[in-house]
């Protein structure tokens, strides 16, 4: 009998553990996924609720209306005052196309699905109409418009964020569409938000990652001298500098200034696949970001066991199999600007109820510490000289130190290269970080850098300090 009793106690302990697991998993699921689950495209509550609730407004950080519900012939319709300019961020609600953007990810707030019983009772009995909550974005419409106009009719994306808080101030994807007139849409590809979901080879902008790895892992990197003959042979592969130009003798600072491919390829080989992919991992490559207000597709860095030397050389200069999203590039830039701390990018600043009272405020969140401050400072200094003396001269702003890096990424086949530019300003106390890609446009320093400059100038003029 005693053995039975002892064993029974053991069984009871196992049951206790199993039931704790049930509780823990339920809490985990709700705590970490609840919001995304509730906003899911498959949540029929949203479709049902939208018939008897007036959708809340979407505003920018200064109260500029980006999506409003207004009455037309006794029916509530959704109106987007700034149409195509904010189309990809704000998104749409459409019976055929479904939902996208903030209209999708914040649907539970916009419909007041998580309003308390009291709030629902007040609305039902005092106002006789159910109103959702208003969502206030981190976006600044004025900066959004600048970025939108600067990119013009070219295909590509612009992301601007405050590196200290992760607040996304502008996010543009082109080609765009008019959310007020979805019925006349011919090509569904325009709906796709390239800033979050477009993956491109980063080209030379990736050199900041290689540089970070070198500064961390190669102790004497500062004193090393490299000789560029305009090309380098890696096995049977010949990797050359832009225009086969021989840069001659240079140190690492000068190599970044002129964006010397052979130097960075040889640094990549010096580091080896382990260290370079370790740094790429620290910069959060190969990770899908699934946040409540946006989903950013995973950037890619090849798995270390599959890297051959010639591939490693290509990866180190952002070609080969490396791909990146514009948002991720903005995050990397912001991390360098913010002493190595990568903030979680955010689109939603706060939620207010239909009477204008703030019911939820979202605060900045440090997402990862990707590099140490001394390394971040060194990279910043080198990026400043890229703009003052190197390939990024067209991003110069008078009276302000700008840090930047150009990228000209081979797009494959006979296509024109993708033009990249990443930058932040002011270099000593950054308040704005920008990533720009212009598809098949040519050289980053010529095509992309001026766009970044316009955005940074406008941000500084608007008082982001």
């Amino acid at each position: 009998m005693n053995r039975i009793k002892r064993n029974t106690k053991q069984v009871l302990v196992v049951f206790a553990a199993v039931f704790m697991l049930l509780m823990g998993y339920l809490l985990y699921t709700y705590f970490f996924q609840g919001n995304r689950l509730a906003n899911s495209y498959y949540n029929k509550r949203i479709t049902q609720k939208s018939q008897d609730v007036v959708w809340g407004d979407i505003k920018d950080r200064n109260g500029e209306m980006l999506a409003v519900s207004r009455q037309k012939d006794n029916q509530w319709v959704r109106d987007y005052p700034h149409g195509a300019v904010t189309a990809h961020v704000v998104g749409y609600v459409d019976p055929k196309l479904g939902r996208a953007g903030i209209e999708n990810s914040q649907a539970t707030y916009l419909l007041g699905l998580n309003n308390g019983v009291l709030e629902q009772a007040v609305q039902r009995f005092v106002f006789h109409e159910l109103h959702g909550n208003n969502v206030i974005l981190t976006l600044d419409y004025r900066l959004q418009k600048t970025a939108y106009d600067a990119l013009g009719n070219r295909r590509g994306a612009v992301v601007a964020m405050d590196p200290r808080t992760g607040e996304v101030l502008a996010m543009v994807s082109k080609p765009d569409f008019d959310p007020n007139n979805l019925a006349s849409l011919n090509d569904k590809d325009v709906l796709y938000n390239k800033a979050l979901q477009g993956t491109y080879p980063p080209g030379s902008t990736f050199k900041v990652v290689t540089l970070a790895s070198a500064l961390k892992n190669i102790p004497d990197i500062d004193s090393q001298t490299f000789t560029c003959k305009g090309y380098i042979n890696v096995g049977n592969y010949k990797l050359s500098c832009s225009g086969n130009k021989a840069h001659g003798q240079l140190n690492i600072n000068e190599a970044l200034e002129v964006s010397c491919n052979t130097t960075f390829a040889s640094i990549g080989l010096q580091l080896g696949d382990k260290l370079l992919s370790q740094t790429a991992k620290e910069f959060l490559f190969n990770k899908t970001f699934a946040w409540d207000d946006m989903t950013v597709y995973a950037s890619n860095f090849p798995k270390e066991e599959h890297i051959t030397d010639d591939e490693l050389a290509k990866d180190a200069i952002g070609q080969g199999k490396v791909t990146v999203t514009p948002m991720h590039m903005a995050m990397i830039t912001s991390a360098i600007a913010n002493d190595g701390d990568m903030m979680q990018p955010r689109l939603v600043k706060a939620v207010e109820n239909s009477r204008g009272r703030i019911i939820r405020r979202f605060s900045p969140r440090r997402y990862a510490h990707v590099i140490d401050k001394p390394i971040a400072d060194k990279i910043t200094d080198m990026m400043v000289s890229v703009v003052t003396d190197g390939t990024g001269k067209s991003a110069r702003i008078s009276g302000v130190d700008v840090a930047g890096k150009t990228g000209t990424a081979q797009a494959g086949g006979q296509q024109e290269d993708h033009a990249w530019f990443i930058s932040f300003a002011p270099a000593d106390n950054p308040s704005i970080a920008v990533a720009v890609i212009v598809e098949n446009a040519g050289t980053g320093g010529i095509q992309a850098a001026p766009i970044a400059r316009k955005v940074m100038e406008q941000a500084l003029r608007l008082g982001y300090k």
């Binding site: 069984v11 049951f15 206790a16 498959y42 049902q48 629902q120």
Partner: protein, 421 residues
């Protein structure tokens, strides 16, 4: 001291009745004119709780009244949720509850006179196998599993009732026999039961029977080799089933990534998770959510429906209540001085516990989904009556352990109370 303890239990009963009344009153006010049917059910179920409780504390003093209170609380949440989803279903569920508790009291009365239940292994075994085979012969298919039969206009699920027989059969052998040879008939019996359940596609029931069997085997023999052997066997069978049976593979895949086919194979689990995510910590409020969107919300997925309207905190509390129920059941086993009685109490408590784990785990995507009921909460007559039978067999062992001199074992009057407060 006794007075204080009783009054504490009374407080719990009054709280449950207050909850029950509040829930139904809220539902009554949903429509205008007021739905007085809801009020009648509220009064009736509250009266059933009060009367049952008085019967327990008056005539079956040895019984654990907290187990009864837990059942009342769980069934009340079930009634309210079912009434909110469909009034007619809730009324039938109340009928099943009354039938179940009647069966419970009948068992309690009979257990005063019944002795030597441990001598009928062959009867239990044959009855189990026959009952399990019935659906294959005269059964109807429901929800992909062929485990139902029709009796006088009602559909009955024999595997629910075999639970008790299975426990009795297993305990009859395990109470004294330890060697491999002596255990052989039991092994054969258990294997036959599992095979029938697999053939009937009732994987949830099979998992529960298997787990209970392994638990009882371990408790009786202390032999970890049996347990490991069984687990390895289960793993092998499970893997073969995964490879060979299409519907098993579908379930596992729907579990691993329900979003890959969110409108098809993953539909149930996706909708369940969305419901859990939509409610919030305190729920949308009774009648204010849309739990009717969840497939099988009245039966398998009632936990998701409760999580949506009552909130995550209540859902967590429900899991805790089930654990306390199992804990008190096992505590009765610990107080028993008879191996047979201890084994059936452990078996029945484990049966309820593992069934709860399987269905809640499936609904929250912790484990692959298999359709079983949430005891005392999900709609279903077979399930309600069978759950009461399991509690009945646990409680009746206390009556059987009553010593001849009429003094109840020490834990019943003293230790239990001092430990509770």
């Amino acid at each position: 001291m006794t007075y204080r303890v009783r009054s504490r239990a009374w407080d719990i009963l009054i709280t449950i009745i207050a909850f029950n009344l509040a829930g139904f009153i809220l539902l009554a006010f949903r429509s205008s004119p007021i739905d007085d049917q809801a009020l009648y059910i509220a009064v009736f179920t509250s009266a059933v709780y009060a009367i049952s409780y008085i019967i327990v504390i008056s005539f079956f003093k040895q019984c654990d009244e907290y187990i009864m209170l837990l059942i009342f609380a769980l069934s009340s949440i079930g009634f309210i949720m079912l009434y909110r989803l469909d009034a007619q279903t809730a009324i039938r569920q109340v009928q099943w509850f009354v039938l179940g508790i009647s069966v419970f009291f009948t068992m309690m009365i009979l257990s005063r006179y019944m002795r030597g239940l441990d001598r009928y292994f062959h009867i239990y075994a044959v009855a189990s196998v026959v009952l399990l085979l019935l659906p294959m012969i005269i059964g109807t298919i429901r929800g992909g599993a062929k485990n139902w039969i029709e009796v006088g206009g009602y559909t009955v699920q024999p595997s629910e009732f075999v639970k008790l027989l299975f426990i009795l059969a297993t305990a009859s052998i395990l109470k004294e026999k330890r060697s491999m040879k002596e255990l052989l008939p039991l092994m054969v019996f258990a294997a036959i039961c599992m095979v029938i359940l697999i053939l009937e596609n009732d994987l949830g029931a099979m998992a529960i029977y298997f787990a209970v069997f392994v638990i009882m085997l371990y408790v009786a023999t202390s032999n970890i080799i049996y347990v490991l052997g069984s687990l390895i066997l289960a793993g092998a069978v499970g893997y073969v089933a995964y490879l060979a049976l299409g519907h098993v593979r579908i379930r596992v895949e729907a579990w691993l990534n329900p979003w890959a086919d969110a409108t098809g194979r993953g539909y149930q689990i996706v909708q369940s998770l969305i419901a859990i995510g939509s409610g919030g910590w305190l729920g949308s409020g009774l009648g204010l959510g849309q739990p009717y969107i969840i497939p099988a919300a009245k039966t398998d997925f009632i936990f998701a429906a409760i999580a949506e309207e009552f909130g995550i905190l209540i859902a967590v509390a429900i899991i805790a209540m089930y654990f306390i129920l199992i804990y008190r059941g096992m505590k009765i086993a610990l107080s028993s001085n008879d191996p047979f009685n201890a084994l059936i109490a452990i078996g029945a408590a484990a049966m309820l516990g593992f069934q709860t784990f399987v269905i809640i785990g499936g609904v929250i995507k912790l484990i692959p989904l298999t359709g079983v009921t949430l005891p005392f909460v999900s709609y279903g007559g077979s399930s309600m009556v069978a759950s009461f039978m399991l509690v009945g067999v646990i409680q009746s062992t206390v009556i059987q352990t009553k010593p001849s001199d009429g003094v109840y074992p020490e834990k019943i009057t003293g230790e239990r109370y001092s430990e509770s407060y």
